[in-house]
């Protein structure tokens, strides 16, 4: 049993709720404690939750195509608010239209996300990566 706590939510004005529930189940099944903020979550809400719960990771989902705008600046805000070790993941339909995933990955890594996932990600594998990344940070 790991004692990882991860904050989960769909960022911005995005109300796609289904993927969020699936992620919650998948991570919980892998022994990760999930603090699920649901849909339409602001950057500050992610951070507030992570501060109070002592979460080691924040998992941001963006499904509706505005990820590029909504997700930018989260890393800086985390640093500003004292979350200097937090692991940041992002996934979903991050940009509008069909862009090459490698390009999308570079874009979001540039924003400070530790890992970037396409919709086709295997959630069990993702959970394992998360455990490794958290262990490496602490």
């Amino acid at each position: 049993m790991s004692d990882i706590t991860a904050v989960l939510g769909v960022i911005g004005s995005d109300c796609h709720a289904v993927g969020n529930k699936i992620l919650d189940h998948a991570l919980t099944a892998e022994g990760i404690k999930v603090v699920n903020l649901g849909v339409m979550v602001s950057q500050d809400e992610f951070i507030n939750a992570a501060v109070e719960t002592g979460a080691q990771a924040i998992l941001v989902a963006s499904i509706y195509g505005h990820g590029e705008i909504d997700c930018d600046g989260l890393r800086g805000r985390c640093l500003e608010r004292g979350l200097d070790k937090v692991v940041l993941y992002v996934g979903g339909n991050l940009v509008i239209g069909k862009r090459d995933f490698a390009e999308v990955e570079t874009l979001f890594r540039g924003m400070g996300y530790d890992r970037v996932f396409p919709p086709t990600v295997d959630l069990k594998e993702m959970a394992n990566l998360l455990k490794q990344d958290v262990a490496a940070r602490s």
Partner: protein
């Protein structure tokens, strides 16, 4: 049954005797005298003598009379709250303190600074409510704050209601201080649990604060224990909600010289398509504004109302300077009365503005969405004004101020009551009936509503 009810306020000690026959309450006598700050018991027993025929203590002892009383004298019950994130554990700490009838003297989020500690050392509250972190959550801030408090010379009661993973450690770091450890006020994220902290504050009030304020003399002579006035009024609000048909939701303003209290009972039922953000709201809520009041706080009230005063700003500033040191001042000229009314509108309006929530409309590719934070009192149909000024003000109506401030600077809807009847506690009996309600909740609730004026 005859019940003597007294309320020791910061300027007046008020009292009334009520006869209770089943569900009917009749007022037998009432009196008020200036509060005797040096020794609260003097004013208390003088008023008790005024409202009871014969020897009150003898009647108390043989059971012919019973007694309930509250106090907000000598600064009331001052609580400083320490939380982690302002919108989370600090917010719940504020709710716990305010619902225990306390006045928030200081609030702190994140790390306590050297200045914060110095401030607490220089003017310690009655109680320090110390929280932060969910159970199993953040420990760094809590530990650092506990260390800072432990090293300091802060001398007051401390209630720890934070992350239980570090509770034992906090106990060690604060060894030698008067510390009580209770359940976390947010054990699980977004699930507020203010009651254990609230209960601890009440117990400490009874066990120690009462003595410090000189209320122990009254307790010793009468055998009855006091509560903080706002605590009694909050519970009275709950009693009205429970026992009076059609009063399951309402707002009560208690405006005084120093503070404006807002109490509301309301069940949140968000519309479909509205997303709720932030902490879930309690059904019964009290907020108190220490900078909004008609006399002692007149200066800060003018500051809070400044932007809307226009040409009248200077006149209001001068007026505030005149009344600030005179708690008993009553306006005699029409000009002064008009200025007084403007101050009152700001007190009630701003206090309500801080009490209610906001609704933001955001435009998504999918069309409009609504995001609500805090409580939505738009459907609340009944509003009561109490406190000396509001009791007397037959023509006062808060509705125009609410309507003028229905949208905030960020374009969000301010969730004020929209269409409501305004009632007045014309005899200013609510604090006394709130005391009666401690023994007879249903009868006192019905009597209070019956006595209101439209």
């Amino acid at each position: 049954m005859i019940v003597a009810c007294l309320d020791i306020g910061s300027t007046w000690t008020k009292g009334a005797t009520f006869r209770v026959d089943g569900e009917t309450v009749s007022l037998l006598a009432r009196a008020a005298r200036p509060t005797t700050v040096v020794n609260l018991a003097d004013g208390f027993f003088a008023v008790l003598g005024d409202i009871v025929e014969g020897d009150p203590l003898a009647q108390l002892h043989d059971g012919r009379l019973s007694l309930q009383y509250s106090s907000s004298a000598k600064g009331g019950l001052a609580v400083a709250a320490i939380g982690l994130v302002p919108e989370m554990t600090l917010e719940i700490g504020k709710i716990a303190a305010q619902s225990a009838g306390a006045r928030l003297s200081q609030v702190f989020a994140y790390h306590l600074t050297e200045d914060d500690i110095a401030g607490l050392e220089a003017s310690p509250p009655d109680i320090l409510l110390f929280a932060g972190g969910t159970d199993g959550g953040n420990t760094n801030y809590v530990r650092a704050n506990a260390e800072a408090i432990g090293r300091s010379s802060i001398d007051c009661e401390i209630v720890y209601a934070g992350n239980r993973s570090v509770a034992a450690e906090v106990g060690r770091l604060l060894a030698g201080k008067r510390l009580r450890i209770v359940d976390n006020l947010m054990p699980v994220f977004n699930e507020p649990n203010p009651d254990p902290a609230r209960d601890a504050i009440r117990t400490i009030f009874l066990e120690t604060i009462v003595k410090g304020k000189g209320l122990d003399r009254i307790m010793a002579a009468t055998g009855a224990a006091p509560v903080p006035t706002p605590f009694a009024v909050l519970e009275y609000t709950r009693a009205i909600h429970a026992h009076v048909p059609e009063w399951d939701s309402f707002v009560l303003f208690d405006m005084g010289g120093a503070t404006t209290d807002v109490y509301s009972v309301h069940q949140e039922m968000p519309d479909l398509g509205t997303v709720l953000r932030g902490l879930p709201e309690p059904e019964v809520k009290r907020t108190v504004e220490g900078d909004l009041g008609m006399r002692v706080s007149a200066r800060t009230t003018v500051e809070a109302g400044e932007p809307e005063f226009g040409d009248a700003a200077e006149a209001l500033r001068c007026y505030a300077e005149r009344v600030v040191a005179q708690p008993e001042f009553l306006p005699l000229t029409p000009e002064d009365a008009a200025l007084d009314t403007r101050l009152a509108a700001v007190c009630v309006g701003q206090a309500c503005r801080r009490h209610v929530g906001r609704l933001a409309t955001i435009y998504t590719p999918d069309g409009e969405m609504k995001i609500q934070t805090g409580r939505d009192l738009r459907q609340v149909a009944r509003v009561i004004g109490s406190g000396g000024w509001l009791a007397r003000a037959a023509d006062f109506d808060p509705a125009p101020w609410f309507a003028q401030h229905a949208v905030d600077a960020r374009g969000r809807l301010v969730l004020f009551p929209q269409h409501f009847s305004y009632y007045r506690d014309a005899d200013y009996l609510f604090p006394l009936l709130a005391n009666l309600a401690r023994a007879f909740p249903a009868a006192a609730a019905q009597a209070g509503i019956r006595l209101l004026q439209d």
